[in-house]
């Protein structure tokens, strides 16, 4: 590697304007390489936050692809843009007051019934979730299934942007998960018990003792503490 090797490049079009960038960069890094500094369209840069929802087309391909800019490698002939924001209606609710037995999903989001089963939502999901399946479960009021099928949703809104029935899938799914967690998941008895013990001051004395222990004694306690296998 003594000589400076030519970097292999690809041609991309950012909002229609041509740039040449090194091969192998993510879309996000390719745009930065081209001189863009992000304020919108960037977040965690690790595939968790959904801020960098991206739409692109490849030369000679009729399809409109969707993905995350931080998780997708640029390809030659890529025409791309990022969505700075996806407007999608979100309904207000009080989790404690919801009537959970009467399909609150359909109640709050009646547009769910407009689903035409085109599956565009699933095809547009960068997490590859079966979005249409959970929409169908939502219509039937199967909250647990919606919660589980949607669990890996990063709320980028690409499904909502593409949906011909104008369903805000990610908001419906959030509602379902919270209802499931609050009302349907089995309760954790050992947690309830421990919370009560703490409220009753059961651990106060031993914690007080530790807080006031000289460093040397604390070190000794630490090194000799019992470790669960």
């Amino acid at each position: 590697m003594n000589e400076k090797t030519e970097v292999e490049t690809v041609e991309i079009f950012i909002m229609g304007k041509r740039y040449e960038v090194p091969k192998g960069l993510t879309i996000m890094k390719a745009m930065e390489y081209s001189g863009y500094q992000y304020v919108r369209g960037v977040g965690c840069r690790g595939g968790f936050c959904g801020a960098c929802a991206t739409i692109y087309r490849l030369e000679g391909d009729y399809k409109l692809h969707t993905d995350l800019a931080c998780q997708t490698t640029v390809q030659d002939g890529m025409y791309l843009t990022q969505l700075p924001f996806t407007p999608a209606g979100r309904e207000q609710y009080d989790l404690e007051e919801l009537e959970v037995d009467n399909n609150p999903l359909l109640d709050l989001y009646p547009e769910l019934a407009r689903c035409v089963s085109c599956n565009t939502c699933s095809k547009s999901c960068p997490q590859d979730l079966e979005v249409m399946d959970f929409v169908n479960e939502a219509i039937r009021g199967n909250i647990k299934e919606v919660a589980e099928l949607s669990f890996d949703c990063i709320q980028c809104g690409l499904c909502a942007a593409r949906c011909p029935a104008e369903i805000p899938h990610h908001h419906v799914a959030q509602l379902a998960r919270r209802i499931y967690g609050r009302y349907q998941a089995p309760e954790s008895e050992h947690l309830e018990k421990r919370v009560k013990e703490i409220a009753n001051g059961q651990f106060d004395d031993e914690l007080e003792e530790l807080v006031n222990l000289p460093k040397e004694e604390l070190e000794e306690r630490y090194e000799n503490r019992e470790i669960e296998e």
Binding site: Y38, V39, G46, Q127, E130, R178, E206, L207, L210
Partner: protein, 559 residues
């Protein structure tokens, strides 16, 4: 259960690893069977200290310098942070009009991540009307490291566990530098925090009888790590944010605070916000302020890659320091032992400790285990660096990066097929996107800049040294001493976000709105001038600079 995908427009499968790496993988495969069920011994205190002294980046003297201005004069800090703390305000105090106030609120929360949102919710519970709260945040609400945490959250809620055992793990992991009353608060509040989450509808991983599924983390004495697959941070943040939306808390997005405002006594009375899109500033007058801006990973200390969010640029430290806040343990930076070292597109991203907690162990290029898989993070990171640079037993990537293998196929061998995909869905998706199947091949890892162990000094009510200013989450210090354990950061933002929010609300109920000045900034400027600080240096940074070299060299500001 869905999995990650290979893009339909990708070429038929070719080996994602180059030949040199594949050869090393073959050696890893040969030793795999015999490594299962066999543990490497934990290090004793002397060995741990040796590894840290010789290999942990915190112990490299040339990476640090002492401060010449402000409350922490003389204290050692990473160079990158010191340059931001000793920098002139981005806003010239003489150029802003503080007489036109845009917002008057009881509680201003600076930062819209986990800590800030939790603080706002608990301020409401303490009796503040949601319309009297404002969250000002740099990017979108919820864009934060909180969203990215994978492995889990600690809480001593099982019969065999106790807050006392948790406390010992916290202070031992932190090398006994923690403020003990903060460690106590962390351990004692933890079960109550999980209960609150359950009430908010968070879906923790549970057994059929409702008991929590828990694992060990590095440095834990009990299986105390609660998770929601490996999307724990996302599951918490999105539920907490959803509740904030239901409560109709005002959130100003893309409008970071750039300077605090104080009265003649130095009490914090408001802040200047800067709308990054319209480039206008707003003046906020508040009775209490909660600082919750998170950490500093995007400063790339000692040129390390980072797991952190785009906005993790130490803004809150900078603003609070100018206003007189004391900083603790800033010489201590957490490098997560296992950041991705290959492929190039994901270098630095986190491979959660839950992978090691589930049984995968780090091995060198010959497939040999060289360290217990769950040492406290700083020790584990030191051991990985030693293996690569001290013993030259690492694996080199085509771009010249070194790493060791994290032997992920062990997980399904130990726990049964499908375990990885089910419990580590994020990692599975992350790697299969780039053609690597972690249930078949090991992953190459190297330490990555992960967490700010120190921060603004607080007491156990979330109060800082500055009247009117509270802090919670990664921006504050003292909780974790010199090293935070896994699963204690999600816990930290909840415990101290809550405590700061409650304290801020209490103060707001007892105080009136104060006068707005930039006197503290003027005084700090004088200090900087005396210390001869370069006048070009400005802060806060707000966003990191990643534009290509070529693009930058041709950039001019003419508009």
């Amino acid at each position: 259960m869905r999995t990650g995908k290979l893009k339909s427009n990708e070429e038929p499968k070719e080996d994602p690893y180059p030949e040199s790496m594949r050869e090393s993988i073959k050696k890893v495969e040969q030793t795999r069977e015999e490594r299962i069920g066999k543990e490497v011994d934990r290090m004793n205190p002397d060995e741990r200290e040796q590894v840290l002294n010789k290999y942990h980046p915190d112990y490299r003297e040339e990476g640090m310098r002492g401060l010449d201005a402000g409350p922490n004069q003389g204290d050692q800090m990473p160079l990158e942070l010191a340059d931001l703390l000793e920098a002139y305000p981005a806003v010239d105090p003489s150029e802003v009009d503080l007489t036109k106030v845009d917002y008057e609120v009881d509680v201003l929360v600076i930062g819209g991540g986990g800590a800030g949102t939790v603080a706002a919710l608990w301020a409401i519970k303490e009796g503040i009307d949601p319309s009297d709260i404002l969250i000002a945040t740099k990017l979108r609400h919820g864009d934060a490291n909180s969203m990215m945490a994978q492995g889990g959250i600690q809480a001593a809620d099982r019969e065999v566990d106790s807050p006392k055992a948790h406390f010992l793990d916290i202070v031992g992991g932190g090398h006994f530098a923690n403020k003990p009353e903060l460690a106590r608060a962390l351990a004692k509040d933890a079960p109550g925090i999980l209960k609150w989450h359950e009430d908010l509808g968070v879906m923790y991983d549970k057994n059929e009888d409702g008991s929590m599924k828990t694992l060990h983390g590095g440095g834990t004495s009990r299986k105390r790590l609660h998770s929601a697959k490996d999307y724990t941070g996302m599951e918490l943040m999105r539920a907490i944010r959803d509740e904030a939306r239901n409560q109709e808390i005002n959130v100003e997005e893309f409008s970071p605070a750039v300077e605090l405002l104080t009265d003649s006594d130095g009490t914090v009375t408001g802040a200047l916000l800067y709308n990054m899109e319209t480039e206008q500033y707003y003046v906020v007058r508040a009775k209490s302020i909660v600082m919750a801006t998170g950490g500093f990973g995007r400063l790339h200390i000692q040129e390390f890659p980072t797991t952190n969010h785009y906005g993790a640029t130490a803004d809150g430290l900078v603003m609070s320091y100018r206003a007189g806040a004391n900083l603790l343990d800033m010489d201590s930076v957490q490098y997560h032992p296992t950041g991705a070292a290959f492929p190039e597109q994901i270098v630095g991203l986190l491979v959660t400790e839950k992978v090691r907690g589930s049984g995968a162990i780090p091995v060198n290029r010959d497939g040999e285990a060289f360290v217990f898989n769950l040492e406290p993070r700083d020790v584990e990171a030191g051991a990985l660096i030693r293996e690569c640079y001290g013993r030259d037993m690492g694996v080199e990537t085509p771009t010249g990066m070194k790493g060791v293998w994290l032997d992920t196929p062990m997980i399904d061998m130990i726990h049964g097929e499908g375990t990885f995909e089910e419990n580590l869905a994020y990692i599975y998706r992350l790697y299969t996107r780039f053609g690597i199947d972690p249930t078949e091949d090991p992953l190459l890892v190297f330490p990555t800049l992960h967490y700010q162990n120190g921060g603004i000094e607080i007491d156990d009510e979330g109060r800082t040294a500055v009247e009117g200013l509270f802090a919670g989450g990664e921006v504050e210090g003292g909780v974790h001493g010199k090293n935070r354990l896994m699963g204690n950061s999600l816990l930290d933002y909840n415990v101290f976000g809550k405590r700061a929010g409650i304290s801020a609300a209490k103060r707001a109920k007892e105080t009136e709105l104060g006068d707005l000045t930039l006197e503290h900034a003027r005084r700090y400027i004088e200090e900087l001038e005396k210390a001869g600080v370069d006048e070009e240096r400005r802060s806060p940074m707000l966003i990191p600079e990643y534009r290509g070299e070529e693009a930058l060299s041709r950039s001019i500001d003419i508009i």
